[in-house]
Symmetry: C2
Subunit: 217 residues, 2 copies
Protein backbone atom coordinates (compact mmCIF):
# COMPACT_ATOMS: atom_id res chain seq x y z
CA UNK A 1 0.00 0.00 0.00
CA UNK A 2 1.23 3.48 -0.89
CA UNK A 3 0.10 6.67 0.84
CA UNK A 4 -0.58 9.59 -1.44
CA UNK A 5 -0.93 13.33 -1.25
CA UNK A 6 1.31 13.86 1.75
CA UNK A 7 2.98 17.26 1.30
CA UNK A 8 6.81 17.38 1.10
CA UNK A 9 6.92 19.50 4.24
CA UNK A 10 5.11 16.77 6.18
CA UNK A 11 7.42 14.12 4.73
CA UNK A 12 10.31 16.25 5.95
CA UNK A 13 8.89 16.27 9.49
CA UNK A 14 8.00 12.57 9.70
CA UNK A 15 11.59 11.49 10.49
CA UNK A 16 11.68 14.14 13.25
CA UNK A 17 8.54 12.63 14.80
CA UNK A 18 9.94 9.14 14.40
CA UNK A 19 13.13 10.14 16.18
CA UNK A 20 11.08 11.61 19.04
CA UNK A 21 8.86 8.52 19.28
CA UNK A 22 11.84 6.14 19.37
CA UNK A 23 13.43 8.22 22.11
CA UNK A 24 10.22 8.27 24.15
CA UNK A 25 9.90 4.48 23.72
CA UNK A 26 13.50 4.08 24.94
CA UNK A 27 12.44 5.92 28.09
CA UNK A 28 9.78 3.27 28.69
CA UNK A 29 6.70 5.13 27.47
CA UNK A 30 3.84 3.40 25.66
CA UNK A 31 1.76 6.44 24.78
CA UNK A 32 2.56 10.05 24.02
CA UNK A 33 0.36 13.12 23.69
CA UNK A 34 0.81 15.50 20.77
CA UNK A 35 1.77 18.11 23.36
CA UNK A 36 4.60 16.00 24.81
CA UNK A 37 5.79 15.08 21.34
CA UNK A 38 5.63 18.77 20.39
CA UNK A 39 7.88 19.73 23.30
CA UNK A 40 10.32 17.00 22.47
CA UNK A 41 10.65 17.63 18.74
CA UNK A 42 10.15 21.39 18.71
CA UNK A 43 7.16 21.39 16.35
CA UNK A 44 3.79 22.93 17.32
CA UNK A 45 1.22 20.41 18.62
CA UNK A 46 -1.40 21.63 16.12
CA UNK A 47 0.99 21.02 13.24
CA UNK A 48 1.75 17.51 14.53
CA UNK A 49 -1.98 16.74 14.70
CA UNK A 50 -2.42 18.13 11.18
CA UNK A 51 0.50 16.06 9.86
CA UNK A 52 -0.82 12.88 11.49
CA UNK A 53 -4.29 13.49 10.10
CA UNK A 54 -2.89 12.85 6.60
CA UNK A 55 -2.63 9.21 7.47
CA UNK A 56 -5.59 9.04 9.80
CA UNK A 57 -4.03 8.57 13.22
CA UNK A 58 -5.91 10.81 15.61
CA UNK A 59 -4.72 9.15 18.82
CA UNK A 60 -6.96 8.36 21.79
CA UNK A 61 -8.33 11.36 23.75
CA UNK A 62 -6.73 11.54 27.21
CA UNK A 63 -4.25 8.77 26.36
CA UNK A 64 -2.46 10.07 23.28
CA UNK A 65 -0.83 8.13 20.50
CA UNK A 66 0.31 4.55 20.85
CA UNK A 67 4.02 5.02 20.29
CA UNK A 68 4.86 1.69 18.67
CA UNK A 69 1.86 1.73 16.38
CA UNK A 70 2.52 5.30 15.29
CA UNK A 71 6.23 4.57 14.73
CA UNK A 72 5.33 1.54 12.57
CA UNK A 73 2.89 3.68 10.61
CA UNK A 74 5.45 6.43 9.97
CA UNK A 75 8.07 3.86 8.94
CA UNK A 76 5.57 2.37 6.52
CA UNK A 77 4.73 5.76 5.00
CA UNK A 78 8.39 6.66 4.66
CA UNK A 79 8.91 3.13 3.25
CA UNK A 80 11.63 2.56 5.82
CA UNK A 81 10.09 -0.86 6.42
CA UNK A 82 10.79 -1.95 2.84
CA UNK A 83 13.71 0.16 1.57
CA UNK A 84 16.13 0.35 4.49
CA UNK A 85 19.34 -0.92 2.82
CA UNK A 86 21.88 1.54 1.52
CA UNK A 87 25.26 1.41 -0.20
CA UNK A 88 28.07 3.84 0.53
CA UNK A 89 30.41 5.04 -2.22
CA UNK A 90 33.65 6.61 -1.01
CA UNK A 91 35.21 5.36 2.21
CA UNK A 92 37.43 8.32 3.13
CA UNK A 93 37.28 10.09 6.48
CA UNK A 94 33.65 11.08 6.11
CA UNK A 95 32.60 7.76 4.55
CA UNK A 96 34.25 5.82 7.38
CA UNK A 97 32.48 8.02 9.94
CA UNK A 98 29.17 7.35 8.20
CA UNK A 99 29.80 3.59 8.33
CA UNK A 100 30.38 3.89 12.07
CA UNK A 101 27.53 6.38 12.63
CA UNK A 102 24.97 4.97 15.09
CA UNK A 103 22.22 7.39 14.08
CA UNK A 104 20.95 5.43 11.05
CA UNK A 105 19.59 2.64 13.26
CA UNK A 106 16.99 5.02 14.75
CA UNK A 107 15.24 4.91 11.39
CA UNK A 108 15.88 1.24 10.73
CA UNK A 109 18.40 2.20 8.04
CA UNK A 110 21.39 0.01 7.37
CA UNK A 111 24.50 0.58 5.26
CA UNK A 112 25.07 -2.92 3.92
CA UNK A 113 27.70 -2.28 1.25
CA UNK A 114 30.64 0.08 0.75
CA UNK A 115 32.69 0.87 -2.34
CA UNK A 116 35.96 2.66 -3.03
CA UNK A 117 38.48 2.99 -5.85
CA UNK A 118 41.59 2.74 -3.66
CA UNK A 119 43.28 -0.71 -3.78
CA UNK A 120 44.51 0.02 -0.24
CA UNK A 121 40.97 0.17 1.07
CA UNK A 122 39.32 -2.60 -0.97
CA UNK A 123 38.92 -5.75 1.07
CA UNK A 124 39.16 -3.99 4.43
CA UNK A 125 36.27 -4.31 6.83
CA UNK A 126 34.90 -1.12 8.41
CA UNK A 127 32.23 -1.54 11.06
CA UNK A 128 31.29 -4.95 9.73
CA UNK A 129 31.10 -3.89 6.08
CA UNK A 130 33.70 -5.13 3.60
CA UNK A 131 34.89 -2.49 1.14
CA UNK A 132 34.35 -3.52 -2.49
CA UNK A 133 35.79 -2.12 -5.73
CA UNK A 134 33.50 0.37 -7.49
CA UNK A 135 33.27 -1.90 -10.55
CA UNK A 136 31.09 -4.14 -8.39
CA UNK A 137 28.43 -1.44 -8.20
CA UNK A 138 26.94 -3.23 -11.21
CA UNK A 139 25.47 -5.87 -8.89
CA UNK A 140 23.51 -3.44 -6.67
CA UNK A 141 20.25 -4.18 -8.45
CA UNK A 142 20.58 -7.92 -7.95
CA UNK A 143 21.30 -7.24 -4.29
CA UNK A 144 18.12 -5.19 -4.04
CA UNK A 145 19.92 -2.03 -2.91
CA UNK A 146 18.23 1.11 -4.21
CA UNK A 147 19.60 3.75 -1.82
CA UNK A 148 23.13 5.13 -2.00
CA UNK A 149 25.25 7.56 -0.04
CA UNK A 150 27.91 9.44 -2.02
CA UNK A 151 30.94 10.56 0.01
CA UNK A 152 33.50 11.01 -2.77
CA UNK A 153 35.56 14.13 -3.62
CA UNK A 154 33.75 16.81 -5.59
CA UNK A 155 35.37 15.95 -8.92
CA UNK A 156 34.16 12.35 -8.65
CA UNK A 157 30.61 13.17 -7.55
CA UNK A 158 28.84 13.49 -10.93
CA UNK A 159 30.44 10.37 -12.50
CA UNK A 160 29.55 8.44 -9.33
CA UNK A 161 25.94 9.61 -9.46
CA UNK A 162 25.77 8.75 -13.19
CA UNK A 163 27.00 5.25 -12.43
CA UNK A 164 24.55 4.79 -9.55
CA UNK A 165 21.67 5.84 -11.78
CA UNK A 166 22.85 3.31 -14.40
CA UNK A 167 22.84 0.45 -11.92
CA UNK A 168 19.30 1.21 -10.79
CA UNK A 169 19.72 3.30 -7.63
CA UNK A 170 16.58 5.38 -6.93
CA UNK A 171 17.61 7.60 -4.04
CA UNK A 172 20.96 9.30 -3.42
CA UNK A 173 22.23 11.21 -0.40
CA UNK A 174 25.13 13.27 -1.75
CA UNK A 175 27.75 14.65 0.64
CA UNK A 176 30.01 16.02 -2.11
CA UNK A 177 29.85 19.82 -1.91
CA UNK A 178 28.33 20.41 -5.33
CA UNK A 179 25.10 20.12 -7.22
CA UNK A 180 24.76 16.84 -9.11
CA UNK A 181 22.43 16.04 -11.98
CA UNK A 182 20.18 12.99 -12.12
CA UNK A 183 17.04 12.00 -14.04
CA UNK A 184 13.77 13.04 -12.40
CA UNK A 185 12.96 9.45 -11.43
CA UNK A 186 15.95 9.47 -9.08
CA UNK A 187 15.64 11.52 -5.88
CA UNK A 188 18.86 13.28 -4.88
CA UNK A 189 19.38 15.08 -1.57
CA UNK A 190 22.65 17.02 -1.29
CA UNK A 191 23.97 17.66 2.19
CA UNK A 192 26.85 20.16 2.24
CA UNK A 193 28.02 20.05 5.84
CA UNK A 194 30.20 23.16 5.57
CA UNK A 195 27.35 25.17 4.11
CA UNK A 196 25.34 24.77 7.29
CA UNK A 197 28.24 26.11 9.33
CA UNK A 198 28.66 28.97 6.82
CA UNK A 199 25.15 30.24 7.62
CA UNK A 200 25.89 30.63 11.33
CA UNK A 201 28.14 33.73 11.48
CA UNK A 202 25.39 35.83 9.89
CA UNK A 203 23.34 35.44 13.06
CA UNK A 204 26.16 36.37 15.41
CA UNK A 205 26.04 39.92 16.72
CA UNK A 206 28.98 42.19 15.91
CA UNK A 207 31.06 44.14 18.38
CA UNK A 208 32.82 43.41 21.64
CA UNK A 209 29.77 43.64 23.88
CA UNK A 210 30.41 40.23 25.39
CA UNK A 211 33.87 41.02 26.57
CA UNK A 212 32.67 43.20 29.41
CA UNK A 213 33.54 46.40 27.60
CA UNK A 214 29.98 47.58 27.50
CA UNK A 215 27.73 48.04 24.49
CA UNK A 216 29.62 49.34 21.48
CA UNK A 217 27.12 48.74 18.73
CA UNK B 1 28.86 47.55 8.61
CA UNK B 2 25.94 45.21 9.04
CA UNK B 3 23.44 44.43 6.30
CA UNK B 4 19.83 44.36 7.39
CA UNK B 5 16.53 43.01 6.21
CA UNK B 6 17.91 40.11 4.21
CA UNK B 7 15.32 37.31 4.41
CA UNK B 8 16.36 33.98 5.97
CA UNK B 9 15.72 32.21 2.68
CA UNK B 10 18.24 34.48 0.94
CA UNK B 11 20.76 33.95 3.75
CA UNK B 12 20.28 30.21 3.20
CA UNK B 13 21.11 30.57 -0.50
CA UNK B 14 24.13 32.87 -0.11
CA UNK B 15 26.52 29.99 0.76
CA UNK B 16 25.25 28.13 -2.33
CA UNK B 17 26.13 31.14 -4.50
CA UNK B 18 29.48 31.50 -2.76
CA UNK B 19 30.30 27.84 -3.45
CA UNK B 20 29.39 28.33 -7.13
CA UNK B 21 31.47 31.50 -7.41
CA UNK B 22 34.53 29.89 -5.81
CA UNK B 23 34.25 26.96 -8.19
CA UNK B 24 33.93 29.25 -11.20
CA UNK B 25 36.98 31.24 -10.02
CA UNK B 26 38.92 27.96 -9.70
CA UNK B 27 38.13 27.35 -13.35
CA UNK B 28 39.82 30.64 -14.22
CA UNK B 29 36.75 32.84 -14.73
CA UNK B 30 36.68 36.51 -13.75
CA UNK B 31 33.04 37.25 -14.46
CA UNK B 32 29.87 35.18 -14.37
CA UNK B 33 26.36 35.89 -15.64
CA UNK B 34 23.34 35.20 -13.42
CA UNK B 35 22.33 32.61 -16.03
CA UNK B 36 25.62 30.69 -15.77
CA UNK B 37 25.52 30.90 -11.99
CA UNK B 38 21.90 29.70 -12.09
CA UNK B 39 22.86 26.62 -14.10
CA UNK B 40 25.71 25.87 -11.80
CA UNK B 41 23.90 26.21 -8.48
CA UNK B 42 20.44 25.06 -9.54
CA UNK B 43 18.61 28.25 -8.53
CA UNK B 44 16.56 30.30 -11.04
CA UNK B 45 18.41 33.29 -12.52
CA UNK B 46 15.59 35.68 -11.56
CA UNK B 47 15.82 34.53 -7.93
CA UNK B 48 19.60 35.05 -7.97
CA UNK B 49 19.13 38.58 -9.31
CA UNK B 50 16.49 39.25 -6.65
CA UNK B 51 18.74 37.90 -3.88
CA UNK B 52 21.68 39.99 -5.06
CA UNK B 53 19.53 43.12 -5.25
CA UNK B 54 19.24 43.02 -1.43
CA UNK B 55 22.82 44.12 -1.25
CA UNK B 56 22.87 46.19 -4.38
CA UNK B 57 25.06 44.21 -6.75
CA UNK B 58 23.38 44.32 -10.13
CA UNK B 59 26.39 43.20 -12.18
CA UNK B 60 27.44 44.78 -15.48
CA UNK B 61 25.12 44.22 -18.46
CA UNK B 62 26.74 41.92 -21.02
CA UNK B 63 29.64 41.12 -18.67
CA UNK B 64 27.96 39.73 -15.56
CA UNK B 65 29.13 39.82 -11.99
CA UNK B 66 32.76 40.29 -11.01
CA UNK B 67 33.34 36.97 -9.24
CA UNK B 68 35.92 38.05 -6.68
CA UNK B 69 34.05 41.20 -5.73
CA UNK B 70 30.77 39.37 -5.38
CA UNK B 71 32.39 36.59 -3.32
CA UNK B 72 33.94 39.18 -0.99
CA UNK B 73 30.58 40.88 -0.66
CA UNK B 74 28.77 37.63 0.19
CA UNK B 75 31.46 36.68 2.70
CA UNK B 76 31.06 40.09 4.31
CA UNK B 77 27.28 39.75 4.53
CA UNK B 78 27.54 36.26 5.97
CA UNK B 79 30.26 37.65 8.29
CA UNK B 80 32.57 34.89 7.13
CA UNK B 81 35.29 37.55 6.86
CA UNK B 82 35.15 38.28 10.60
CA UNK B 83 33.78 35.13 12.31
CA UNK B 84 35.47 32.23 10.56
CA UNK B 85 36.97 30.38 13.54
CA UNK B 86 35.15 27.43 15.05
CA UNK B 87 35.73 24.97 17.86
CA UNK B 88 34.79 21.30 17.66
CA UNK B 89 33.47 19.43 20.69
CA UNK B 90 33.59 15.63 20.42
CA UNK B 91 36.38 14.01 18.43
CA UNK B 92 34.86 10.59 17.70
CA UNK B 93 34.49 9.16 14.20
CA UNK B 94 32.31 12.00 12.96
CA UNK B 95 34.31 14.69 14.78
CA UNK B 96 37.57 13.39 13.32
CA UNK B 97 36.05 13.38 9.85
CA UNK B 98 34.92 16.97 10.35
CA UNK B 99 38.44 18.00 11.38
CA UNK B 100 39.73 16.45 8.16
CA UNK B 101 36.86 17.73 5.99
CA UNK B 102 38.19 19.96 3.18
CA UNK B 103 34.81 21.59 2.49
CA UNK B 104 35.00 24.26 5.21
CA UNK B 105 37.81 26.09 3.40
CA UNK B 106 35.45 26.98 0.52
CA UNK B 107 33.74 29.38 2.91
CA UNK B 108 36.92 30.54 4.62
CA UNK B 109 35.89 28.59 7.73
CA UNK B 110 38.51 27.09 9.97
CA UNK B 111 38.23 24.65 12.89
CA UNK B 112 40.97 25.97 15.14
CA UNK B 113 40.27 24.05 18.37
CA UNK B 114 38.97 20.59 19.33
CA UNK B 115 37.79 19.24 22.66
CA UNK B 116 37.04 15.78 24.06
CA UNK B 117 36.51 14.13 27.45
CA UNK B 118 38.55 11.01 26.69
CA UNK B 119 42.04 11.01 28.24
CA UNK B 120 43.11 8.76 25.37
CA UNK B 121 42.33 11.47 22.84
CA UNK B 122 43.46 14.58 24.74
CA UNK B 123 46.85 15.78 23.53
CA UNK B 124 46.61 14.00 20.18
CA UNK B 125 46.84 16.07 17.03
CA UNK B 126 44.20 15.51 14.34
CA UNK B 127 44.69 17.38 11.08
CA UNK B 128 46.87 19.97 12.74
CA UNK B 129 44.54 20.59 15.69
CA UNK B 130 45.54 19.46 19.19
CA UNK B 131 42.72 17.89 21.18
CA UNK B 132 42.11 19.68 24.49
CA UNK B 133 40.15 18.63 27.58
CA UNK B 134 36.58 19.99 27.71
CA UNK B 135 37.36 21.90 30.92
CA UNK B 136 39.41 24.23 28.74
CA UNK B 137 36.27 25.35 26.90
CA UNK B 138 36.25 28.14 29.49
CA UNK B 139 38.93 29.99 27.53
CA UNK B 140 37.02 30.12 24.21
CA UNK B 141 35.94 33.71 24.77
CA UNK B 142 39.51 34.88 25.37
CA UNK B 143 40.49 33.07 22.18
CA UNK B 144 37.77 34.93 20.29
CA UNK B 145 36.01 31.72 19.16
CA UNK B 146 32.25 32.20 18.94
CA UNK B 147 31.28 29.31 16.66
CA UNK B 148 31.13 25.69 17.78
CA UNK B 149 30.43 22.32 16.21
CA UNK B 150 28.91 19.69 18.51
CA UNK B 151 29.67 16.07 17.56
CA UNK B 152 29.07 14.33 20.89
CA UNK B 153 26.71 11.41 21.64
CA UNK B 154 23.05 12.32 22.08
CA UNK B 155 23.09 12.10 25.89
CA UNK B 156 25.94 14.63 26.08
CA UNK B 157 24.48 17.10 23.58
CA UNK B 158 22.39 19.32 25.87
CA UNK B 159 25.05 19.64 28.62
CA UNK B 160 27.61 20.46 25.92
CA UNK B 161 25.39 23.14 24.42
CA UNK B 162 24.70 24.57 27.91
CA UNK B 163 28.43 24.80 28.54
CA UNK B 164 29.10 26.41 25.15
CA UNK B 165 26.44 29.04 25.85
CA UNK B 166 28.06 29.71 29.25
CA UNK B 167 31.47 30.33 27.71
CA UNK B 168 30.08 32.82 25.20
CA UNK B 169 29.56 30.80 22.02
CA UNK B 170 27.00 32.49 19.73
CA UNK B 171 26.46 29.94 16.97
CA UNK B 172 26.27 26.15 17.24
CA UNK B 173 26.14 23.50 14.53
CA UNK B 174 24.78 20.42 16.31
CA UNK B 175 25.32 16.97 14.81
CA UNK B 176 23.83 15.08 17.78
CA UNK B 177 20.54 13.55 16.60
CA UNK B 178 18.27 15.44 18.98
CA UNK B 179 16.79 18.85 19.55
CA UNK B 180 18.84 21.01 21.91
CA UNK B 181 17.71 24.09 23.82
CA UNK B 182 19.60 27.38 23.86
CA UNK B 183 18.75 31.00 24.65
CA UNK B 184 17.40 33.00 21.72
CA UNK B 185 20.62 35.01 21.42
CA UNK B 186 22.43 31.81 20.40
CA UNK B 187 21.72 30.44 16.94
CA UNK B 188 21.59 26.64 16.79
CA UNK B 189 21.41 24.61 13.58
CA UNK B 190 20.89 20.86 14.08
CA UNK B 191 22.03 18.59 11.28
CA UNK B 192 20.82 15.00 11.71
CA UNK B 193 22.63 13.16 8.93
CA UNK B 194 20.52 10.01 9.22
CA UNK B 195 17.30 11.98 8.99
CA UNK B 196 18.19 13.14 5.49
CA UNK B 197 18.68 9.54 4.41
CA UNK B 198 15.42 8.57 6.11
CA UNK B 199 13.47 10.89 3.78
CA UNK B 200 14.74 9.18 0.64
CA UNK B 201 12.82 5.87 0.56
CA UNK B 202 9.51 7.77 0.46
CA UNK B 203 10.38 8.95 -3.04
CA UNK B 204 11.34 5.53 -4.35
CA UNK B 205 8.70 3.81 -6.45
CA UNK B 206 7.37 0.49 -5.24
CA UNK B 207 7.23 -2.71 -7.21
CA UNK B 208 9.63 -4.75 -9.29
CA UNK B 209 9.34 -2.73 -12.49
CA UNK B 210 13.07 -2.21 -12.72
CA UNK B 211 13.93 -5.86 -12.70
CA UNK B 212 12.76 -6.41 -16.24
CA UNK B 213 9.53 -8.08 -15.17
CA UNK B 214 7.36 -5.37 -16.69
CA UNK B 215 5.12 -2.86 -14.99
CA UNK B 216 3.41 -4.31 -11.93
CA UNK B 217 2.16 -1.16 -10.25
Amino acid sequence: MRYHRIPDETVRRLPIYLRGLMFSADQGNEHISSRSLAEFVGVHAWLIRKDFSYFGDFGTPGVGYNIQRLARQIKKILRLDSVPRAALVGVGDLGSALLAYPGFATYGLDIVAAFDTSPKKIGKVVNGVKIEPVVDLAALKQRDITLAIVAVPRAAAQPTVDRLVEVGVKGILNFAPCKVQAPKRVKVITLDIAMELARLPYYIPTGQTDKGKGAQQ
